[in-house]
């Protein structure tokens, strides 16, 4: 039914970036496609600037446990460069495809000048060496154009669904987005989603 079974997807970022919303949309859409879906998440730090990682596992055959083993992620969706590299170091392999928002968010120790944030180009270079292929998406900029930078998570969902890498239809996802937001926010989020889909469709697959 689907290529790799289970298909292991990781969404990683910083608390406040909308990890949980993104994983919920992808997972709910997958349920509507008739798949078994397991999502693993740790809350608590999510609202307070900590690193957040969501594990999404899709299967046509059985209900899998909620976490993904190291080195076994097929797709890594990164909302932030060093969090992406961290997740790829742990869960990626030469089989992994990554979709990355290159806009950095500095951890507290970097803000205070105690630690340095590595140059983004170097982070992206390190990521490229570790995985099969990377799409770098200026999701924050696309989200701003759609109306609000916070919708970068939905732009990224658009990219992954539009890429055809996961067995979820664009229309199914749109329906979930319509159910997921307050009425007055639906239009903007659909716009963000479509811009993500459009962005990835205009690129060569990797």
């Amino acid at each position: 039914m689907i290529g790799d079974d289970p298909l292991n997807i990781i969404i990683t970022g910083v608390g406040g970036q909308g990890n949980v919303v993104a994983s919920r949309i992808i997972a709910s859409a997958a349920v509507n496609e008739g798949l078994y879906v397991s999502v693993g998440e740790i809350y608590g730090a999510s609202q307070r600037g900590g690193a957040v990682t969501s594990y999404v596992r899709l299967s046509g055959e059985m209900q899998y446990g909620p976490i993904i083993p190291r080195g076994m992620a097929h797709i890594i969706i990164g909302f932030e460069p060093i969090e992406s590299l961290r997740a790829i170091g742990n869960f990626g392999s030469k089989k992994t495809r990554a979709i990355i928002n290159p806009r950095p968010i500095y951890p507290v120790d970097v803000l205070s000048g105690t630690l340095e944030y590595p140059p983004v180009e170097e982070v992206l270079k390190a990521i490229k060496e570790l995985v099969y292929g990377v799409q770098v998406i200026e999701a924050t900029e696309l989200a701003k154009k759609a109306g609000d930078a916070v919708m970068q998570n939905i732009v990224m969902v658009g990219c992954v669904v539009g890429s055809g890498l996961i067995p979820i239809e664009i229309e199914t996802t749109k329906e979930i987005i319509k159910e997921s937001f307050a009425k007055e926010r639906v239009e903007a989020n659909l716009k963000a989603f479509k811009s993500g889909v459009g962005e990835i469709k205009g690129r060569k697959a990797v």
Partner: protein, 588 residues
């Protein structure tokens, strides 16, 4: 019989709440605690609510309320995290003797690792100590099935039943089969029965006998559930429970036997029969070696587990750890993982206080006014601060540890505790401090909510779970407890905050300062964004004072501090800046 179940995608804690609704729940209580909080939040949000639900002030009170409902014949659940069960342990242990009328489920969520707790205790030990059954789910679906079964089991044997999910289960999401929810609501009726409900020694003796007699029947009942099963297919076997059994299930190759245990007390006869068919047995479980001890008790086979050093005694398990345990013991996992070297050297990203959090100016002011003194603190967001936190042990402990230290030390003791934590178990400590003539300053960090667990109301906020209610005054409570000084200040007014601390420092006895300002997250939701501040680079002397304060909105950019998008406009940094370089922007 071929019936197609409707499935809905939900969080395990939502699924547990759904299971309660399908079981005809009448009464729910709890105190917020990660990873359990969403159960009560979900029950409260149910559109056709025809049952009672409350956030109680602490877990002991929550359990006793649920006991009241159960003794009136109603189905009740009491929800807490594992350390909450310590607070509720007094009623919990004796409740096993009196037993219940309406089904009573005690949900105690354990936190291996621990992700957001102060310890890694194992609630299965508590169930064992109390001699009550415990159900240990391995998937969200099983958690939901178990809670429904738990109400029936509880009523059949007139005994409370523990449901013990762990963090990975509570916060997993999956597609869950749902059933109908009964519409009718029930009234309770308390039937007097002193031999059961009045636990004097003469009655306790008899009730303990009855409790012991129930055990065999409970084990028999549990035996018929789908929560325990075994597959025989070789000389080696794995015995597992909880989320670890999901990991083991994913990796176990053909030719290795498997036993999954999901209920306690363990059926020792079945366990013995299973172990005796196998030469070597791996026991894979999180937290304490509960299954392993049982296996060792009944079996003469080789048992590998925590007690042989093969399975870690602390932390949580995952697929990679289980993979390693299997390989080390001569079992080839069904799926092979490659060894990985995780990326080292990247800056870590711990959670931090939000920009504009009221805790930060309060703690910073304490550190300035009481330099070099002692700062006992408590459970809550404020432990994320880099300022004025010297201790954090358990709910409410700051006040009593502080008064204890004040009897031993010459330095000033400045205690901090959140509003909800103070209501939870801080008040007895304050009474005790006054009663025993302690010398300390108690600062109540009143951010008008229980922020860490997802913004639940507490008695000082004028709101309960159902809406507005009587607002309990922290000032009146502290005065009634006999505090020698009670003052309220807004820590956003940093100068006034410091003045209040100076006044307290000059006085004797137990002095209380209530630092009151709403949680920044709540304030932003209510009032929208404030106009942020900015730093004038020409006037900045690069002294670093604003950076020392530790606000995530202030960052060092190319040797100069700047204010980033996170700024919520609280303006504390502009007061701290001695060169007047920080001012509010003209516009957003």
């Amino acid at each position: 019989m071929g019936e197609i179940k409707i499935k809905r995608f939900m969080l395990c804690n939502e699924a547990i709440a759904r299971g309660c609704l399908e079981a005809g729940l009448d009464f729910a209580t709890g105190y917020p605690g990660t990873p359990s909080s969403e159960v009560i939040d979900t029950l409260n949000a149910y559109h056709d609510r025809n049952f009672y639900v409350e956030w109680s002030v602490n877990e002991k009170v929550a359990l006793e309320n649920a006991i009241g409902a159960s003794w009136c014949g109603l189905r009740s659940i009491c929800v807490m995290k594992h350390v909450g069960l310590n607070v509720a342990a007094d009623p919990f242990m004796s409740l096993a003797y009196t037993g219940v009328k309406g089904g009573l489920v005690v949900l105690s969520a354990d936190d291996p690792f621990p992700h957001s707790s102060q310890n890694e205790q194992d609630s299965r030990r508590y169930a064992h100590a109390a001699k009550i059954p415990c159900l240990d789910p391995s998937t969200p679906q099983e958690a939901k099935d178990m809670v429904k079964y738990a109400f029936c089991l509880s009523e059949r044997h007139e005994i409370p039943v523990m449901l013990r999910p762990t963090t990975r289960i509570c916060h997993a999401r999956s597609d869950i089969e749902i059933d109908d929810i009964p519409k009718e609501s029930r009234r309770g009726r308390f039937v007097k029965d002193p031999k059961r409900w009045v636990l004097v020694p003469a009655h306790a003796k008899e009730l303990h006998k009855k409790l012991n007699e129930k055990q065999e029947k409970i084990i028999e009942d549990l035996s018929s559930t789908p929560f325990n099963y075994s597959i025989n297919r070789g000389e080696t076997a794995i015995i597992s429970s909880g989320v670890a059994s999901a990991y083991a299930h994913e990796l176990i190759p053909d030719g290795v036997s498997f036993m999954k245990i999901g209920t306690y007390p363990i059926d020792l006869r079945k366990l013995k029969a299973f172990t005796e068919r196998h030469k070597k047995i791996l026991v894979i479980e999180e937290l304490d070696p509960v299954l392993e001890e049982a296996a060792r008790m009944v079996s003469s086979s080789e048992i590998i587990g925590k007690m042989t050093g093969d399975v870690p005694l602390g932390g949580e398990l995952n697929l990679n750890i289980v993979h390693g345990i299997l390989e080390k013991n001569g079992i080839s996992p069904k799926i092979r993982y490659e060894e990985r070297d995780p990326e080292e050297g990247l800056p870590k990203r711990p959670p931090s206080l939000c920009a504009g959090c009221m805790h930060q100016p309060t703690l910073y002011a304490i550190e300035e006014v009481f330099k070099g003194d002692i700062y006992p603190s408590d459970i809550g967001c404020y432990t994320l601060s880099a300022h004025a936190i010297d201790t954090c042990l358990c709910m409410g402990s700051s006040v009593s540890i502080g008064s204890g230290i004040s009897h031993c030390e010459g330095r000033n003791v400045v205690v901090t505790i959140g509003d909800s934590t103070f209501m939870h178990t801080g008040i007895p400590g304050l009474i005790n401090a006054v009663y025993n003539d302690a010398k300390m300053v108690l600062v109540i960090l009143d951010n008008r909510t229980t922020a860490m667990t997802g913004h639940q109301p507490s008695p000082g906020t004028g709101e309960n779970i159902s809406g507005t209610c009587k607002e309990l005054s922290l000032e009146a409570i502290c005065r009634a407890c006999g505090a020698d000084l009670v003052e309220t200040v807004d820590p956003y007014d940093f100068v006034v905050m410091k003045e209040a601390l100076h006044r307290a420092k000059a006085k004797h006895g137990v002095r209380v300062i209530i630092a009151r300002h709403p949680c920044a997250i709540i304030e932003k939701r209510r009032k929208g964004e404030e106009i942020p501040f900015e730093i004038d680079v020409k006037r900045c002397t690069k002294c670093g004072d604003c950076l020392d304060y530790g606000c995530p909105a202030i960052e060092l950019y190319d040797i100069k501090p700047i204010i980033n998008d996170l700024c919520n406009g609280c303006g504390i940094c502009s007061v701290l800046c001695s060169s007047g370089a920080i001012t509010r922007r003209k516009e957003r």
